[in-house]
């Protein structure tokens, strides 16, 4: 399983192998969301290509950025997780037994059994993210794409979320792609880093990345471009 992307926003190729933990970094407007759309198969790259090998875009579990609508949404954990199975159902109007089993498995997987009847709006931010990961895992456990998952979470919940991704990655061999601003924490878990930037971008292992200027700038070692405006 691998793909290489050469997108219009910059000349960068990168590949993800099964079992990788890729961290995608970059300033706002550097093309992260375009890349996400490309990976999910929602947008054709205007130049270059994204090649999938042994996986289709539909087999990528997706955790989108949090949206305001969900904050007061009256739906149980069970209902939310089940909705993750819909993509595979085609035109079938109701959930099949197989879909319900997939949802149950996902719920057990993320230890949501005790809160499955609770309302999504009554959960803490960390619990909500766990539910949404469970939903994403309904369709697949091959690859999980998380778009800024720790935004708005406190330190304890953030640590918990990283533990979940690490567990999925190490124990279940789920490939993780995470987009994050939380570079200090996320780097501990990732084995590969893709840094998108208007000028030149970086792709390599996490060890290589910490020796680059990108890393020094991001962590405040040098002149940080983000503060200059």
């Amino acid at each position: 399983m691998s793909y290489e992307g050469v997108a219009a926003f910059k000349d960068i190729s990168f590949s993800v192998e099964s079992g990788d933990y890729l961290l995608i970094l970059g300033e706002n407007g550097s093309g992260k969301s375009t890349l996400v759309k490309g990976i999910l198969g929602l947008k054709e790259p205007s130049a270059g290509k994204i090649a999938f090998n042994g996986i289709t875009p539909r087999q990528i579990g997706y955790l989108p950025q949090q949206n305001a609508i969900q904050k007061d949404f009256p739906a149980t954990v069970q209902e939310v997780v089940l909705s993750g199975c819909l993509g595979a159902g085609g035109f079938c109007p109701f959930y099949t037994k197989k879909q319900r089993q997939a949802a149950d498995k996902s719920i057990r997987h993320l230890h949501l059994e005790d809160i499955r009847k609770k309302s999504f709006r009554d959960l803490s931010g960390g619990q909500q993210q766990r539910v949404l990961i469970a939903r994403a895992l309904c369709a697949t456990d091959k690859m999980l794409l998380l778009d800024e998952p720790v935004t708005g979470l406190d330190a304890v919940m953030t640590a918990e979320l990283y533990d979940i991704t690490e567990h999925l990655n190490k124990v279940h061999k789920t490939t993780i792609i995470m987009i994050s601003h939380d570079i200090a924490n996320a780097l501990k878990y990732a084995n590969k880093v893709l840094h998108l930037s208007a000028g030149n971008s970086f792709f390599g292992t996490a060890e290589e990345y910490v020796r680059t200027d990108f890393y020094k700038n991001m962590t405040g070692g040098g002149n940080n471009a983000e503060y200059s405006c």
């Binding site: 929602l42 997706y62 989108p64 609508i69 949404f73 149980t76 209902e79 939310v80 909705s83 109007p93």
Partner: protein
Amino acid sequence: MPSILAEMLSYDFILRALLVGLLVSLCASLLGSSLVLKRYSMIGDGLSHVGYGALAFAAAFNLAPLYVAIPVVVAAAFFLLRLSQNSRLKGDALIAIISSSALAIGMIIISVFQVNIDVNSYMFGSILALQQEDVAVSVVSSLAVIALYILFYNKIFSVTFDESFSKATGIKTGLYNGLIALLTAVVIVVGMRLMGALLISSLVIFPSLTAMRVCKSYRGVTVFSVVISIVCFITGLVITFYLPVPTGACIVVVDLAAFLICTLVGKIKSAVRK
């Protein structure tokens, strides 16, 4: 009480109002949860004003009202949803523009063509407004709305809850947003004769908002809002039989009462849990 009910039901116009009203209340409350949660609470208001314009047009040229109003309002609903996705004008501003413009155009048509219609009944509804042929169209379209909603319930839930995720899993979100727009438009047009252009949106938003105070699950909200909607409609209709008050307004006030009661119950419930 039973004798009064029997007396009520002996009037043809009440029977018609009851039948259409029940179906419209049911449909409106089904769609309500999705619209409220997608922050489209005012869409009913906007569309009903477009409906008013269309009905004025139909009256001016002697056309069958529903056959003109349904396509026009459906077009407006699509226009609203499409445009607010892609343009700088956001949903609420767009609804405000469309609804006041359609109202203004309707008023001009009425005065230019000297149309002899009761503006009051268009604005605030009338149980006398339903003609025999309206009933058939109303019943058929309401049943279609209910059937489509049940068939696509799960997908509508998913698209309402999280559009980006739904899109990523291969659900055609544009199609289902379009479906919601279509169903909403039909319900608004069918219901506005009874409730009036100014009051029909309450039928869409009140039951769902009320149910959301006390229910935890989406299914619970959906089912309970249907029950509330129907109970409030019947209560309102019965009250207007006793008191000299307009039906539409009375139903809205009963809906408001139900909302306040359920808000209180919800508050007490969450206080007890703590």
